[in-house]
């Protein structure tokens, strides 16, 4: 369980590094507790790109339903850990159904 979460956190961290570029990434503390807007200071288009990468990596996860219950501020205030927990939970649920 924990290793699955750690792996997802690592993937999100990689996606953020890819989007912001190596120069910025080196200055950021990208931890599970960091929120996209306050911790890592992504703007809305960078957040969108990170989410797009997650959508491609986890096509079975229903991000649309989850995010559609939030406004922009709420989405950008999510922490990496919260996103990882959602992905792990949804992936396990899908696996149980299969």
């Amino acid at each position: 369980m924990q290793s699955a979460r750690d792996e997802v956190v690592r993937q999100i961290r990689d996606a953020i590094c890819h989007v912001v570029g190596p120069a910025w990434a080196a200055e950021l503390e990208i931890t599970a507790d960091a929120s996209l807007i306050d911790g890592i200071e992504l703007d809305s288009i960078e957040t969108s790109k990170v989410i797009e990468i997650m959508l491609e990596q986890y096509p079975r996860v229903d991000f649309e339903s989850w995010f559609s219950g939030m406004n922009i501020q709420q989405i950008m205030s999510l922490t990496i850990g919260q996103i990882a927990d959602f992905i792990v939970r949804e992936t396990q649920r899908q696996d149980q159904r299969a």
Partner: protein, 267 residues
């Protein structure tokens, strides 16, 4: 996503490819992020949602020239061609509404619908463009003495972030600084108002969503009377309606889509 001009525009798509497409065009100094985070997840259950960053904006590159409305409408057409090669509904906010309108005039055969959200009349005001290109970078750099109708509200809302020189503030400043080094200013100021005959040529169903307080209602009414199949929806509030009241804007858009997209085009 590469286009014929020889560079790539950043574009994001959500929803099933078989669903009716909606293509979003952001406003000046904006990005596709507004549409993705604020609208796309709601709409992607029923529609193919496409949002892109215009040249010189967001994560798209900043070429030295090509910022007139015709250039931008051609960029939009390239995005449509690559990501939704059939009739699409195009939604444009503020200056993006002008790009969408110009596109519908240039490419009527591909326009399934047009939605214009609170676009002010053309031509743009020199003072406003100077606020954007000179005043805003100065403010973001910490100069709070600058004044302007767009700048004044930002002095309060962004004050803490500016003083802390937050990363996204520096990002925005560097993007605008890059835009200043192009023909953007002269290009956008050289675009003239659409004439009556051009509005009358728009043949697709059109929805105008205008705010009650931004002061553009006369222009909205002029469009409504000139465009053949056109309705006007008012949303209480100011020009920031797309972020201040996204539910009202989205509901108007969804209602329009249900009316304007024929059932056989629905998935």
């Amino acid at each position: 996503m590469s286009i014929d001009a020889g560079f790539s525009l950043n574009a994001i798509t959500l929803g099933e490819p078989a669903c009716p497409p909606i293509l979003f065009v952001h406003g000046m100094a904006g990005s596709a992020g507004l549409w993705v985070l604020g609208y796309a997840f709601h709409l992607a259950r029923n529609y193919r949602v496409i949002a892109y960053d215009q040249r010189g904006h967001g994560l798209s590159p900043t070429p030295p020239r090509g910022y007139r409305l015709n250039d931008q409408a051609d960029d939009l057409e390239q995005v449509r061609l690559r990501l939704a090669p059939g009739p699409v509904t195009v939604v444009g906010y503020s200056y993006g509404g002008h790009i969408a309108t110009r596109w519908a005039m240039r490419y009527p055969e591909h326009a399934a619908g047009l939605v214009v959200i609170d676009s002010p009349p053309l031509p743009l005001l020199t003072r406003d463009i100077d606020d954007l290109l000179d005043g805003l970078p100065a403010l973001l750099g910490g100069d709070f003495t600058r004044e302007g109708r767009f700048l004044d509200p930002l002095k309060t809302s962004l004050r803490d972030d500016i003083l802390k020189r937050r990363r996204r503030i520096l990002n925005t400043k560097s993007r605008i600084d890059a835009l200043k080094a192009t023909t953007f200013r002269s290009d956008v100021l050289s675009d003239t108002a659409f004439d009556n005959a051009e509005f009358k040529r728009i043949g697709c169903p059109t929805l105008l969503i205008y705010s009650t307080q931004a002061g553009h209602l006369d222009y909205a009414e002029r469009q409504r009377t000139l465009i053949e199949d056109c309705e006007l929806t008012l949303v209480d509030g100011g020009h920031d309606l797309v972020t201040a009241d996204p539910d009202a804007v989205r509901h108007a858009l969804e209602r329009f889509m249900l009316q304007s997209v024929r059932p056989r085009e629905m998935s």
